[in-house]
C-alpha cells in the first residue's frame, strides 16, 4: 500500500499512472469516484495492473440519476528496453446501470499482442439498439447533443438511433485510414479480395502512418526533438526565429 518499498521504481510508475487516471476521472465526473487501484507483482517481470474502484465500475449519473457505469483497466509492463512504461492492453467498457453486469453497451479495447485478424485497437458495440436508445433518451439537456435530442423527442420524433452516437477514433492525426476499413470488410465480412491484399493494405497503412507521423511532429516539434535526443540523435534548432510552439489545438482536439 505504499510507493516506498522494494521494486520502488515500478511502484512509482504504477502510482503515477493510477493517480493520473484518478485525476482525470475525478476532474470530469461529478458523482463521487474512488481512486484507481494498482497492483504490482514481485517477480521476474515488471508488471502492474490498474483499474477503477469499486470493482463493479464507476457509477455515472445523468442529472443526478444513476444511469451508467464505466469499467477501466490497464495492464502495463516495461517496454523491451526496460526504459518506458508500455501498456500491453486496456479496456474501457460502458454498461447500462450503475453497477456493471451482463453485457456492455460498448467498449474500447487495446491489445498489443492481439489475435490474427483482430485490430489491436478497436471499438465493439455490444448493445441492441433499444438499449442504446434508452440511455440516449435519458441523456438530459445539459449538453448540445442532449438538448438537440430532447427537442427532437419533445416534438414527437422517433427515439434516438444508434447512428446518433459518435464514438471518437483518434482525432485528426490518429484517425483510421481507408486501409483499416478495407481490412474490416475482408477480415470480418468476407469481402472478395485479391491475393496480395495483405501486402497492399500494409503498404498503404505504412504510407498513411508515415505521413501522419511527420504531421504529428509538426504539432509539437520540441517534444519530437526531445525524443530524438533520447534515442541518440543530435537535434538542434538552426533557424533565426523562435522554435514554433506546440499546436495545442491539434493535440487536444477530440
Amino acid at each position: 500500500m505504499t510507493t516506498e518499498v522494494e521494486g520502488g521504481s515500478l511502484l512509482h510508475e504504477a502510482q503515477r499512472f493510477a493517480n493520473e487516471l484518478t485525476h482525470t476521472v475525478q476532474s470530469v465526473i461529478s458523482a463521487p469516484c474512488d481512486p484507481f487501484h494498482a497492483i504490482a507483482v514481485k517477480g521476474t517481470q515488471e508488471l502492474f495492473s490498474v483499474r477503477q474502484q469499486p470493482s463493479t465500475g464507476i457509477a455515472l449519473t445523468v442529472e443526478g440519476t444513476p444511469l451508467l457505469s464505466l469499467v477501466v483497466s490497464y495492464r502495463c509492463s516495461r517496454d523491451t528496453a526496460g526504459q518506458y512504461l508500455a501498456v500491453e492492453s486496456s479496456e474501457f467498457k460502458v454498461y447500462a446501470g450503475s453497477r456493471a453486469s451482463g453485457e456492455p453497451l460498448f467498449r474500447y479495447d487495446y491489445v498489443h499482442d492481439t489475435f490474427p485478424g483482430v485490430p489491436c485497437a478497436h471499438i465493439q458495440v455490444h448493445a441492441h439498439r433499444d438499449a442504446l436508445a434508452y440511455v440516449m433518451t435519458r441523456a438530459g439537456e445539459r449538453t448540445i447533443r442532449g438538448k438537440r435530442r430532447a427537442r427532437s423527442l419533445a416534438s414527437g420524433d422517433e427515439v434516438p438511433r444508434m447512428s446518433e452516437l459518435h464514438l471518437p477514433v483518434g482525432g485528426t492525426r490518429f484517425r483510421p485510414c481507408l486501409e483499416d476499413v478495407l481490412e474490416v470488410l475482408v477480415q470480418e465480412l468476407g469481402v472478395d479480395h485479391r491475393d496480395d491484399w495483405v501486402q497492399v493494405l500494409g503498404d498503404g497503412r505504412e504510407r498513411w502512418r508515415r505521413t501522419q507521423l511527420r504531421t504529428v511532429v509538426r504539432d509539437d516539434p520540441r517534444e519530437a526533438a526531445d525524443m530524438l535526443r533520447t534515442l541518440g540523435f543530435e537535434v538542434t534548432w538552426s533557424r533565426d526565429e523562435d522554435l514554433p510552439a506546440a499546436r495545442a489545438d491539434r493535440l487536444r482536439q477530440l
Binding site: M1, L11, A40, A100
Partner: protein
C-alpha cells in the same frame, strides 16, 4: 490518491482462492456464463479480478 499494492505470487494465489470462495468456487461455470454475458455485477467484478491475477502471475513466475 490512488492505492498501490506490491504482491508476491503466493499472495496473488491466496487472493485468487478468496475470490473463488466468495463466488461459490465454480470458476468453470462463471466463465461459461460470462461467455453469454449473464454475470451479475459481483460475479463480473470477480471474474475481472481473476483474469487480472492470472495476468499478473505471468510476471511472478
Amino acid at each position: 490518491m490512488a492505492t498501490v499494492e506490491l504482491l508476491t505470487a503466493q499472495e496473488l494465489e491466496e487472493r485468487r482462492r478468496q475470490i473463488l470462495t466468495a463466488i461459490g468456487g465454480n470458476e468453470e461455470s462463471l466463465r461459461e456464463r460470462a461467455q453469454d454475458y449473464l454475470l451479475t455485477a459481483d460475479e463480473l467484478a470477480a471474474l475481472t479480478e481473476l483474469d487480472e491475477i492470472d495476468w499478473l502471475l505471468r510476471g511472478a513466475a
